[in-house]
Symmetry: D2
Subunit: 304 residues, 4 copies
């Protein structure tokens, strides 16, 4: 198929539709972004990129980064991770505390906030300087040498992230946080503050379409088996209470963030990153969801 042609065609079609979404307002720093921006980048397994729109603008990848912290921890401690959390869909909102109460502080999966916070706690136990080591890892996976945390975003989250403070303290009350709450949540806010462009994000997630190996360099990020499992978790848990809808309409494993980014993976074929800051009522990028549904409908190429 002529990827560039299809990407362009679907992009042009979606960009003309009315954008009925709204920019996330609960993190003040995100509310400042121009909502009209929209970019799409498809990266094939052999490293070729097909871009359309605003694909070289930095944006806050937010929760999309939870897949990368999961990769780091899986590659370090393997299946011991599952002693600390489960890999089941939550059936609830991304920041719900309800299940934690009945399930004794064991998060449902590593891609909801509760799970990502426990992943951060594990990183804090692994390294003396967890913020530095995590950044080092993110630079390695993305191949971006000067990747840095966004201090403004991290600060903005810290000042308004009461729900996340509640989560870390709640989990700690069950004994499933081993480090200081402040240290853990600080790492979590920094993880969520990472900024990339569509093209960078698309390349970064390429290892999930390539049996765990970084595109072009073929360095192993995770084992082939771990790559499959990360894809499986994205499929069942990547979109909070819209996981079924994404599987149903798009048919690919993926992960979204409130900054308006989405990554979707067709294993052994390609990775697509989309970015548009306006969100639908479930908190996923309005145009991004539309693009991905139209794209896989056009190509008829999904995991199902």
């Amino acid at each position: 198929m002529d990827c560039q042609h299809i990407v362009n065609r679907i992009y042009d079609q979606i960009v003309q539709l009315e954008d009925r979404g709204a920019v996330a307002s609960y993190i003040p720093e995100l509310a400042k972004v121009d909502p009209k921006q929209f970019g799409v980048c498809l990266t094939t397994k052999d490293g070729k990129q097909h871009s359309s729109g605003d694909t070289q603008v930095l944006f806050s990848i937010q929760s999309v980064a939870k897949v990368l912290s999961l990769s780091l921890v899986l590659s370090k401690i393997g299946d011991d991770l599952w002693k600390r959390m489960d890999f089941e869909p939550s059936g609830s909102a991304f920041n719900s505390l309800v299940q934690l109460e009945s399930e004794n502080g064991i998060p449902r999966n590593p891609l909801i906030n509760a799970g990502a916070i426990v992943v951060c706690d594990i990183i804090c136990s692994l390294y003396e300087n967890p913020k530095d080591e995590l950044l080092e890892y993110l630079r390695f996976v993305s191949g971006i040498k000067d990747l840095t945390y966004s201090k403004d975003i991290a600060l903005s989250e810290q000042q308004t992230g009461y729900r996340n403070y509640a989560l870390v303290n709640f989990i700690k009350s069950f004994g499933n946080i081993k480090n200081d709450c402040e240290t853990v949540i600080d790492l979590y806010f920094h993880l969520c503050s990472i900024e990339m462009t569509c093209e960078q994000l698309s390349y970064t997630f390429g290892f999930l379409s390539n049996q765990g190996k970084q595109l072009l360099t073929q360095k192993e990020i995770v084992t082939p088996n771990q790559a499959k499992r990360i894809n499986a978790i994205m499929q069942t848990c990547g979109f909070y209470d819209e996981a079924g809808e994404f599987a149903f309409k798009v048919g690919l494993p993926g992960k979204s963030g409130v900054g308006g980014g989405i990554v979707a993976v067709l294993p052994n074929a390609y990775t697509i990153a989309t970015w548009s800051p306006s969100l639908n009522k479930h908190g996923n990028s309005y145009r991004g969801m539309q693009f991905l549904e139209a794209f896989t409908t056009a190509t008829q190429d999904t995991v199902f």
Copy 2:
């Protein structure tokens, strides 16, 4: 790959392991089955079958049949189905009433009991003689001319199915059952009473690996797009509160039943049916789950 060889090898390996499951006891008729039986049948897209073990013994397919009632209704009313239910994972047990209460009688998906009961209600509205018409459809999809309901199983479920009576009445209290509760639940109990052999079940589900077309005859059961969506729903919702685990460990869309049957689909490639009556603590076949995990680990061929 030499399918027959791999099926045999994994079968022999699993059958030697201790079976730590237990036969479902809540439906008295099911408790009578010999728990040692174990059969596996893989059917490739071109209709060839590779069997091992007890693949010609009839067993109660139970909830696996919910995929077929879903196919019937999808092929008849299309997306109107989604006005009556959602397609999201439930995060709860298969017979939970909790979510229905907060979600006003709208089931989470068509593969949990609540959703399958609403599907049965739709069938009752479509046909004057719903039990006959459903049987006719099941004969058509399976190609088994003399397929019948098991009266003993249906009666056994009816006599002990208080939770399902509760469900249909509860949903009706929200207005999401249009027909008489007795009629609807009677159809539901009959749907769950269908018996097939492993080989029959494996062939029957072949249309989900074949873009919606029946194997060999190439008759359209559902559209290609509907086939994808049924696979997507099986992936996210087919295993109750173990959906994530099946995606994680097996990596294929699938559906299990308390009779010990499991069907899994690799789109555009094959369908596997396994049957062994002992269940693990989540209510899925103990040996079936072990076989499928070992099989996709060996072939390294999953949707992810």
Copy 3:
């Protein structure tokens, strides 16, 4: 204090206020009642009655009758009752199924639907002809020789009571219903169909203000200790999710019904029955609640 004078004064004051309630519509038979009716009757411990308004019109006492079925069962099996249910406030709506699921079919208290249904099951186990025996008991307690069930109301509830059918089947699925669901729910619907006038209801509940002894005759209905406990249960559980508000604003143990009746008790002093069919948003009589709040504010005589 001059009871008649205060009753009249508060009655006249409340009847002039706008009635912002609405008649219950979910039981069709109840929706036919003239909403403007309003009666109040206070009966002192020595049997004197002070009435104002429509106090001689028959109305459906509905859930108020649950206190009488509780009295019957307590007097027959004593504390064995608490093996089948608890006596804690539910914190939920009167017909919620949620708590039953997490609490294994043990109702929170005998005054929510679930608890009253289990009480009816116990009555079915106690007597060969439970409907006759219950009626006999109600005639005895009320002193009304020709008291009968309202067939129209019972039928109306039966035809629309899907939630209650769901409840009895749900509880039976946990093993906490010993008799046939149909028999139990039939008794329950008949219990709720009892009709009395305000004056009759006020006299009937007199035993709860008289250490368990019937007014005038001094026959023991329940022991003094049981009377205290029934009052305690009414205080904490008598008004579904408005129990706190009734304790807070009225300050007396009491019980309401969707027919618009309310009974409140000042132990060792008096019983008040109010009736007005329009209900507030919590399902309690709008004028009844207003009267009782104004009355105890005027007399400054509450249990607190």
Copy 4:
């Protein structure tokens, strides 16, 4: 009745029974207390005290203090308090977060942790030096001039109170905390750290048996109407998920704390404080509950 005689008799009876409770261990400082101690003090409305056992030993009154912070806020802002919380029983554990999530950060009542934390937030808004002003108020109500916070207890709670940190942050995420989380929770921990003897506690709560007026001095602490309402709230909400049991078995409004203290009030008659550090499985003093049940059974004098 000869109060001193009855108090002594019941005390002697209870102290001989095996104590099957256990000291609270989750606040380390409380775990150090000698569990064998047991004191009871009844204070009649005219100020006379009848004591038995360890009634002059200081102990941590813990949650019992929540009634006093409620009194302060009610006397200052009156019914405006109910814009920030409800007065309904919770039907859940004292530190549950579940209801807060579905009820948008509005606590069920002022006597569960969530409600008491919002009460502390209101105190923080009322005063520039909330800790000093609260202490001043507690000195005034108790008549203890040198009453102080226990620094050890407050520190111990702060170091282990992750659940309470979670609560304050969670409520703040809904906008129902107006001040800094640290300031609010610090006040809350200090409130819970107050120590009194049984005799002091019994006298302090005397205003609730005396129409809101301090015993002996007759100074108004709250209005008569507010005193009734505080008693009503204690009746329906004072014992977490054992509120029904306390109403049922003891029949008086009351409040308990994990330090092993309980206060119960017979309006217009007396206040009893009991203290014994071993707790039953619901977190209420094992001997205290036994004493109060036996006491009101003996006197047959309850609010019901």
